[in-house]
């Protein structure tokens, strides 16, 4: 479970995140939705501990990300925005490297890597060096790397960016599979449709604040429209007139 309470983050004069609170439950897929520059990446970065919040708190399975960040990291699998892989290692080696850093024994790493390579349909490139990978192959490698330690919580920052339809479908299927095993999944996107198809919960943020949260149905109802995209735009309007 992922909980954020009134997170705040400033970079110099710019306030990237003003006030974000959200809860992502186990066995559910939560979407963090917002236009570019709304503060999605900054929020996720605070949750996965590479940025320190200026205010507020966040907990991963009840563990504070600021006070016990190493323990919190152990319970997270993270796919940052535009995640790159090591070009001179094979996909398998990329995966086992992270497994070892997560404290897995080398044998366990090999077993997990083989498992993930099967799960993500990576067999035909898994033992080739990563320098010639396509974007889809790179993403699969980075994703497998993030999942090597079978984390309870999975955070993905704009995972579908730049992927073709097939790769998006593979990713979607994987997220649903992970959800079925009771994992907590939080991912960000600026594409409404994607969130509508996949998410059980949606948190809409704009200008560093949460402007709406609930199931897709609830959001449609509250906005008084059957079209989710229209609902999204309506939620953003007050925020836009604000600033």
């Amino acid at each position: 479970m992922i909980e954020a309470r009134q997170l705040k983050k400033r970079f110099g004069a710019v306030t990237a995140v003003q006030d974000v609170s959200l809860t992502a439950l186990d066995g559910r897929i939560t979407g963090l939705l917002g236009p570019n520059g709304a503060g999605k990446s900054t929020t996720l970065r605070m949750l996965y501990t590479v940025l320190r919040p200026d205010g507020g708190e966040a907990f991963i399975d009840g563990i504070s990300v600021t006070e016990r960040s190493l323990e919190a990291r152990r319970r997270m699998g993270v796919l940052p925005h535009g995640a790159g892989v090591y070009p001179h290692l094979t996909a398998r080696e990329n995966i086992t490297y992270f497994g070892e850093l997560h404290g897995l024994s080398r044998e366990d790493c090999e077993v997990r890597a083989t498992e993930l390579i099967g799960l993500l349909d990576m067999a035909d490139f898994a033992d080739r060096q990563a320098k010639g990978y396509s974007q889809g192959e790179r993403l699969k490698t980075a994703l497998a790397r993030a999942l090597v330690h079978a984390p309870q919580n999975i955070l993905l920052d704009e995972p579908t960016n730049g992927l073709d339809v097939r790769a998006v479908r593979t990713l979607r299927a994987l997220l649903l599979k992970l959800k079925a095993t009771g994992r907590c999944i939080l991912f960000s996107s600026h594409v409404m449709q994607e969130v509508g198809v996949l998410c059980d919960e949606v948190v809409v943020i704009a200008d560093g604040r949460v402007v709406a949260a609930g199931t897709p149905e609830e959001l449609r109802e509250r906005a008084g429209t059957a079209d989710l995209e229209e609902a999204f735009v309506r939620f953003l309007e007050p925020a836009a007139s604000h600033s």
Binding site: E71, Y86, H102
Partner: protein, 392 residues
């Protein structure tokens, strides 16, 4: 500790597959540098030899007017070449560099000589031509000797002891040994060794820091449950390993190439055997972690591999500074100077190549201080990687 080793192993594996590492760590150290040094040394040795042994060619106009003088010149390994030039032609020939030195015997030479009056000779040379200076000096010396020889004979003929001419007897005592004359070469050697060593870790450091950030793998790496400084220590260690590899190859390759050149020509009777090679490696190696940490620190402030390359190149200049001071100020090893990294390595390498005993205290001091500074720099690098600006 385990995490550091995991990072170290991964960086080694990845970089051994990288052609750029291969070029910077292995090829430059093994092939280019020794070749360069060998050429340099060879050139210096040859030049020293040629100045002493090569006969000087002297163009003489109307040599038949002074047969004794010409015979005397010939005895001192000065090759006479008879030419026929008037004054203007002689000037042109020398300034146009067709002839280095021209000696002209005027018509009245013999008559003046017979009359016991100063007999004129004309010596054309170009004092701005540094290469000719030694040759001119030799010709001049022979002329002076010939002149004083005649003067002595004249005095004796008049019943005067010729020693009255020698009011002062100068005895030249040159303390320069061939070894100390080769200080410049030794300084260059040390610099080459230290430079190739640092270059060996250059690509690894840049790739593991700025490169990792540019590729977007850094952020993923920072989400693993390992403290950031441990990740950095692993990377610094990997760079140090490549530096040591490069150092070993360079020293071995230099030993081989210097053996072909023949250092005894420089008066360095150093026996470049396995023990000396080990000692050379041993005294330079402690500088590796310091170099790797400094590069890592510099790379922490840059946004891309290319930018890092520019600034880290400056780190490569740092070891030159003490060497410049050492050669311009003529520094000798002291307790304090042995605490200066790169300078202390220079002293030890120089000492080893001259086959001088290296003080255990000095060696210990150099190793300890270099390693300690490396530790401090590594710690600082670890702290720097806690900055949030790192993610860019």
């Amino acid at each position: 500790m385990r995490s550091i080793l995991i990072v170290l192993r991964k960086e080694l594996r990845e970089n051994l597959r990288d052609r750029r590492t291969f070029l910077s760590a292995l090829l430059i150290g093994t092939v280019l540098m020794p070749l360069l040094v060998a050429m340099l040394v060879n050139l210096t040795v040859r030049r020293g030899q040629s100045q002493d042994n090569k006969p000087v060619t002297l163009s003489v106009v109307h040599g038949e007017r002074a047969p004794n003088l010409i015979a005397d010149l010939g005895q001192y390994r000065i090759e006479i070449k008879a030419v026929n030039l008037d004054d203007a032609a002689a000037r042109r020939a020398v300034s146009g560099q067709q002839r280095r030195i021209v000696l002209a015997i005027p018509e009245n030479y013999a008559s003046q000589l017979a009359a016991g009056l100063p007999a004129p000779v004309l010596l054309y040379s170009d004092s701005s031509d540094a290469a000719a200076a030694a040759d001119v000096g030799r010709v001049r010396a022979v002329l002076a000797r010939h002149s004083s020889g005649i003067a002595r004979l004249r005095l004796m003929a008049r019943g005067v002891d010729p020693t009255v001419l020698s009011a002062i007897a100068i005895q030249d005592i040159d303390v320069a040994t061939p070894t100390s004359r080769s200080v410049l070469i030794l300084g260059t050697l040390t610099y080459m060794i230290l430079l190739t060593m640092l270059m060996g870790g250059l690509h690894v450091t840049l790739d593991a820091t700025a490169g990792e950030r540019e590729r977007g793998s850094l952020e993923s790496l920072l989400t693993v449950p390992v403290r950031r400084e441990q990740l950095i220590y692993g990377k610094i260690l990997a760079a140090s390993v490549f530096m040591l590899l490069s150092l070993t190859l360079t020293v071995c390759a230099m030993a081989v190439s210097l053996r072909f050149v023949g250092l005894e020509n420089l008066g360095m009777n150093v026996n470049l055997n396995a023990l000396t090679i080990l000692q050379l490696i041993g005294c330079c190696a402690p500088l590796a972690p310091l170099g790797a940490s400094l590069m890592t620190i510099v790379a922490a402030f840059t946004r891309s591999y290319r930018e890092a390359q520019t600034y880290v190149g400056l780190v490569l200049l740092i070891p030159t500074l003490p060497l410049i001071f050492a050669s311009t100020l003529g520094l000798r090893p002291t307790l304090w100077l042995m605490m200066v990294p790169s300078l202390s390595q220079h002293f030890m390498v120089t000492g080893l190549l001259r086959a001088e005993p290296v003080s255990v205290l000095f060696a210990g001091l150099s190793v300890t201080v270099s390693l300690a500074l490396g530790g401090i720099a590594a710690f600082a690098a670890g702290r720097l990687y806690h900055r949030e600006a790192l993610l860019g």
